[in-house]
């Protein structure tokens, strides 16, 4: 992360795979955790916390998609739908069975994992962009099903209100309480994903991404691991859906459309494929971008135009800037923000005594 890795020479595979490459890393991670859980929520107001919550939820989803797309090389355009599977599973369990949040959260993820495996099963036969479109089909079929099966959707309005989650006797309601809840889940997600790629399965994923035929020859059961990747990735997506549901207090499939799927794909591509840190960068970046752009354009636009004109202008300019920034980042650094970050870090690695 932030520490510099000057003069670190790795002499064993174990050292190469260590989570903390240098002792200082423990301290930086500790410091970040302390800032995220201790300092920030105490200092920030409801508004900042609400943005942080949305960003943290997006981080979970982005990591999930990155496990599938960035690490295993399978593009999915169905993650929006997997989120809605998680959302409705949790909502149904919470309202009809009255189950608590610590059951609903993994249950939503598990259900999404199951559906994700079914949608991902064509990956046996097809790959690349064709698979992307097959998952797009999954997106539409799931949307249609939720929309039309009233047992799932809870009536023609296709939305289910869920009670605020409670852990023990503690009701999670305010933005600050939500922040602790969502950040805990997000942190677990990050740690689990980091560790996943130190296991056999995680390395199998990477092998499949790098060359599937070669991977098969060295004894990796491709189909099994592809499905496993779909399952893990959809589990994350499902958890994301559950988090949205508890955060908003409602499950509604209309917020998990194909646009959502593309947004998450945008996050990981901008953040950096095949990188957990990149997923975090991408999710935070795309969550903040429209908000920051709004302030910037309002700030500048207000000087030149009367207010009513500005409203129409700024919104369109924002959209154009949004697109232009994405293109700009891709042209400058196609490997994403994570690569940009590594470049900066590499520059400072031997700073100030660069040779």
């Amino acid at each position: 992360m932030i520490h510099r890795e000057c003069g670190v020479l790795k002499t064993s595979y174990a050292a190469d795979m260590a989570l903390y490459p240098v002792p200082l890393a423990r301290w930086t991670v500790g410091a970040i955790a302390a800032a995220a859980f201790g300092v920030f929520p105490l200092l920030a107001g409801d508004y900042l916390l609400s943005i942080a919550n949305l960003a943290a939820i997006a981080v979970v989803g982005a990591i999930g998609l990155n496990i599938l797309t960035g690490y295993t090389g399978q593009i999915s355009l169905g993650h929006g739908a997997f989120m809605s599977v998680g959302a409705y599973t949790a909502a149904i369990l919470a309202t009809r069975a009255g189950l608590p949040v610590w059951v609903c959260l993994p249950a939503g993820g598990a259900m999404a994992a199951l559906v994700g495996m079914i949608v991902g099963s064509p990956s046996l036969r097809i790959k690349g962009l064709y698979l992307a479109i097959a998952t797009l089909a999954g997106q539409f079929v799931i949307e249609w099903t939720i929309n039309h099966v009233t047992w799932i959707s809870g009536g023609v309005q296709a939305s289910i209100y869920v009670p605020r989650p409670a852990l023990g006797g503690l009701l999670i309601q305010s933005q600050r309480e939500m922040y602790y809840f969502i950040m805990t889940v997000a942190a677990l997600g990050v740690v689990a994903a980091l560790n996943l790629f130190r296991t056999r399965a995680g390395r199998a994923f990477i092998a499949i991404r790098d060359h599937d035929v070669a991977a098969e020859i060295i004894g990796i059961h491709i189909f099994r691991y592809k499905l496993l990747a779909f399952a893990i990735s959809s589990f994350y997506a499902g958890v994301t859906g559950v988090l949205y549901t508890y955060y908003l207090g409602i499950a509604n499939y209309e917020q998990f459309t194909i646009v959502t799927s593309i947004d998450f794909l945008a996050m990981i591509i901008i953040g950096g494929l095949g990188s957990i840190l990149g997923s975090i960068f991408g999710a935070v970046f795309l969550t903040l971008l429209p908000i920051v752009l709004r302030y910037v354009v309002e700030g500048i636009g207000g000087l030149f135009f009367t207010i009513p004109d500005v409203l129409n202008l700024i919104t369109n300019v924002q959209l154009i800037l949004f697109g232009a920034l994405i293109v700009f980042f891709l042209v400058v650094e196609p490997e994403g923000l994570n690569k940009l970050w590594r470049n900066i870090k590499d520059y400072f690695r031997v700073w100030p005594f660069a040779y």
């Binding site: 929309n147 409602i250 409203l311 919104t315």
Partner: protein, 408 residues
């Protein structure tokens, strides 16, 4: 970063405010979520200026009992996360009421509004059962819900047929296949049973740009006496063109409120759409004193009236939207004094009665039980290149609506 931007923004606003008279009273903030670039950008850019202009007019005339109303608009691009974020921002600015935008966003914010005790209005969208103020205390549809529109449409076509001495045997319902589109289905089924006509439904899947097979089915096989359409986005104009193409008479097609704007007819062609009927929850056209006052306000400032006004269906809905907020604030100030909060404005909404703005707004009567204000609509028709009024404000089948509300 944020702070310096906020300061810039504040400076800009201060400059803008410096031009207007100094206010002795207090400033009351109202949130407005709008979509100007998202999927509904054929509506937002015309709806929201109506709301701004009405508030501007109110402020020009001395505000609400001497208190200035400030509308904080944030564009949400029809996205739920941005709606949540902007709502928190508005809450920080101390809004006393919120104009919601879009059905999914209304769903997502309903629990928050209730917790924070800030009333939100969702005219013509959101869920129909929010009419029940006891169940959803902080959501106000303020205009006819899809349920009320369904009853009104059926009453209209039964009355028309009676006038022409015909019986209504078959009715087709052509709807957009999403939750909002399907919402009136149960009501229509109940009505079909009671009034003894055959109802058949035809779903148009999103994005609704192609429906020739459904329309062929309507015009070629089912051949109904009337068609009720409930479509969004670009699909209303497609339905007009397609129905015309199969030779179905458009004066027997009644559209719900989101398929009855100038732009829907413009896209299909005014000549093509001659005879097409539409429900409206706000008056159409510029023959209303309040619209003329807004025109005059702009003229007095030496400016041309805004071009958005030409899209009077949406613009006038924006005026209605702002008017109910201003009225609620007025009621709240009258009862609780100038230091009002969301819960006071909620009660202010529930006291709204007899605000008609010279016919632009229906005779709304919002009560703690009825947050819809009656569910009034008018029927308008495309005639000679413009929308002309066919009926006055009416509502229908209150018993069926009551029963549906009780059941939900």
């Amino acid at each position: 970063m944020t702070r310096s931007l906020a300061l810039t923004l504040a400076a800009v606003l201060a400059l803008a405010a410096a031009a207007s008279p100094v206010w002795a009273g207090h400033e009351i903030a109202v949130g407005l979520q709008c979509d100007r670039v998202g999927p509904t950008n054929t509506i937002g850019p015309f709806l929201c200026p109506g709301a701004h202009d009405y508030v501007k007019l109110v402020n020009k005339k001395g505000g609400v009992d001497g208190h200035r109303v400030r509308v904080i608009e944030i564009d949400i691009k029809y996205q739920v996360p941005l709606a949540v974020e902007s709502y928190e921002k508005m809450k920080q600015e101390g809004i006393v009421s919120l104009m919601l935008y879009g059905t999914p966003q209304t769903y997502a914010l309903t629990p928050k509004l209730t917790e924070d005790r800030i009333p939100g209005t969702a005219p013509g969208f959101g869920r129909a059962d929010a009419t029940d103020g006891t169940k959803y205390p902080y959501v106000f549809p303020v205009a006819a819900s899809y349920w009320s529109q369904a009853t009104a449409a059926v009453k209209f076509l039964l009355d028309e047929s009676k006038k022409q001495g015909k019986k209504v045997g078959k009715v087709a319902f052509l709807f957009y296949d999403n939750p909002a589109g399907r919402e009136p289905l149960p009501i229509l089924e109940t009505l079909a049973r009671r009034e003894g006509f055959e109802l058949r439904t035809f779903a148009v899947p999103p994005p609704g740009i192609e429906m020739s097979a459904q329309v062929l089915d309507i015009g070629g096989r089912f051949r109904p006496d009337w068609v009720i359409t409930h479509l969004f986005g670009r699909s209303p104009s497609v339905s007009i063109k397609e129905l015309k193409r199969v030779g179905y008479p458009l004066d027997r097609v009644v559209s719900f409120v989101w398929g009855a704007a100038e732009s829907d007819v413009e896209a299909a062609g005014w000549a093509t759409a001659e005879g097409y009927l539409g429900l409206q929850y706000a008056g159409v056209g510029q023959d209303f004193p309040v619209i003329q006052e807004i025109v005059k306000m702009y003229r007095d400032e030496g400016q041309a009236p805004p071009k958005e006004m030409a899209h009077s269906v949406y613009y006038n809905r924006g005026v209605l939207w702002a008017a109910v907020h201003v009225e609620a604030i007025r009621n709240a100030i009258k009862k609780f004094g100038p230091q009002i909060k969301g819960e006071h404005v909620k009660q202010g909404f529930e006291m709204i009665k007899g605000v008609t703005l010279g016919g632009l707004v229906p005779p709304l009567e919002i009560t703690p039980n009825d947050h819809e204000g009656g569910g009034w609509v008018q029927v308008w028709q495309v005639k000679g290149g413009k929308w002309t009024r066919v009926t006055d404000w009416f509502k229908a089948y209150p018993d069926i609506l009551q029963e549906a509300l009780k059941k939900s």
